[in-house]
C-alpha cells in the first residue's frame, strides 16, 4: 500500500514539474501573442503619426528658422518620443535603425553645441534628421507591405 502511495507521489511530482514548464510556455506564448497583436494594432497608427511629424519639418524649415524655432524643437521632441515608442514595438534591424537615429539625434540636436549653432547650421542638422526619419519610414513601409503580402499568401 505504501509503495502504491510512493508511486502516486512520484507521478504527482513529475506532473507538477511538467505543469510548471507548461505554465511557463503558456505564459511565454501569451506574452508573445499579446505583443504581436499590440504591435499589429499600434504600429500602423504610430507610423502614420511619425509620417505626420516628419512631413511637418519641410514647412517649418522653409520659413524663417528663428521664428519657427520653438515649433521645430517641439516637433523634434514629438518625433523623438514617437521613435522611443516605436523602438519597443519592433525587433531586429529596424530596432537597431531606430536606435541609431535616436543616438545620432542626441549627438547632433539638443546638445550645447547645437544651441550655439547659427540658424543655418541648426537648420542643416534638422534637415539631416528629416532625411533619417524618411529613410526609417521607407523601411517601415517595406516591412508592413511584406507583412501584408505574408498575410495574403
Amino acid at each position: 500500500m505504501s509503495e502504491w502511495f510512493s508511486d502516486i507521489s512520484s507521478i504527482a511530482d513529475w506532473l507538477s514539474i511538467f505543469s510548471f514548464f507548461i505554465s511557463g510556455y503558456v505564459a511565454f506564448e501569451l506574452r508573445r501573442i499579446k505583443r504581436r497583436i499590440f504591435s499589429k494594432v499600434r504600429l500602423p497608427q504610430l507610423i502614420a503619426d511619425l509620417r505626420s511629424s516628419s512631413g511637418s519639418f519641410p514647412r517649418l524649415l522653409g520659413g524663417d528658422f528663428l521664428a519657427n524655432e520653438q515649433a521645430i524643437n517641439t516637433q523634434i521632441a514629438v518625433a523623438k518620443a514617437q521613435l522611443d515608442i516605436l523602438k519597443t514595438l519592433v525587433t531586429g534591424q529596424l530596432r537597431t535603425d531606430i536606435n541609431d537615429i535616436i543616438v545620432e539625434t542626441k549627438r547632433s540636436i539638443g546638445t550645447y553645441r547645437y544651441a550655439a549653432m547659427t540658424p543655418k547650421e541648426k537648420s542643416d542638422q534638422v534637415w539631416v534628421f528629416y532625411g533619417s526619419l524618411n529613410g526609417l519610414l521607407e523601411k517601415l513601409k517595406h516591412e508592413s507591405e511584406r507583412d501584408r503580402i505574408g498575410a495574403a499568401q
Binding site: 509620417r51 516628419s54 512631413g55 519641410p58 514647412r59 524649415l61 522653409g62 520659413g63 534637415w127 528629416y130 532625411g131 524618411n134 529613410g135 519610414l137 521607407e138 513601409k141 517595406h142 507591405e145 501584408r148 503580402i149 495574403a152
Partner: protein, 128 residues
C-alpha cells in the same frame, strides 16, 4: 547604402533644396485624367516632374497598396492615392519614375507652394 535608401535621400534632398528656394518649380499639365496638376523643375539640366494621383481600381482581397480607402461600404472599388516623381529628357519624355518614395508628397507640397509663390502672396496680403 542600398537603392531604396538612395531614393529616399534623393527625394529628401529635393525637398530641402525646394524649401531653401534653390529649385524653382513651374506648374504644368496633369499627366493624365487621374492626376493632379504637375510641377516641373530642372536639376543639372534634367527636367524633374512631381504630381499626385487618385485612381479607382476594383477591390480584391489580395490587393496590396501602400495607401487606399474603401469608397463606401458597398463599393467594389478602392481609390489608390499616390505620388510620383518623373525624371524626364529634354523633350519631356519620362525616362524613370519614383513611385511613393517617402517624402514625395512633401516634395509635391513644396513644389506647389513654390510654383504658386504662396509666401510672397501671404506677405503681400498681410502687408496690405
Amino acid at each position: 547604402m542600398n537603392e531604396f535608401e538612395k531614393n529616399v535621400k534623393f527625394v529628401s534632398k529635393l525637398v530641402e533644396l525646394s524649401q531653401k528656394g534653390e529649385l524653382e518649380w513651374k506648374p504644368s499639365d496633369a499627366p493624365d485624367e487621374f492626376s493632379s496638376t504637375s510641377f516641373i523643375t530642372e536639376v543639372g539640366g534634367q527636367p524633374i516632374r512631381v504630381y499626385t494621383f487618385a485612381r479607382q481600381v476594383p477591390a480584391s482581397p489580395s490587393s496590396i497598396f501602400s495607401s487606399f480607402s474603401l469608397d463606401n461600404e458597398n463599393s467594389r472599388t478602392i481609390t489608390i492615392y499616390g505620388d510620383v516623381i518623373d525624371i524626364m529628357d529634354a523633350r519631356h519624355r519620362v525616362l524613370y519614375s519614383f513611385r511613393d518614395v517617402t517624402g514625395t508628397h512633401d516634395l509635391f507640397e513644396s513644389a506647389s507652394r513654390s510654383a504658386a509663390n504662396v509666401d510672397r502672396l501671404i506677405e503681400a496680403v498681410l502687408s496690405a
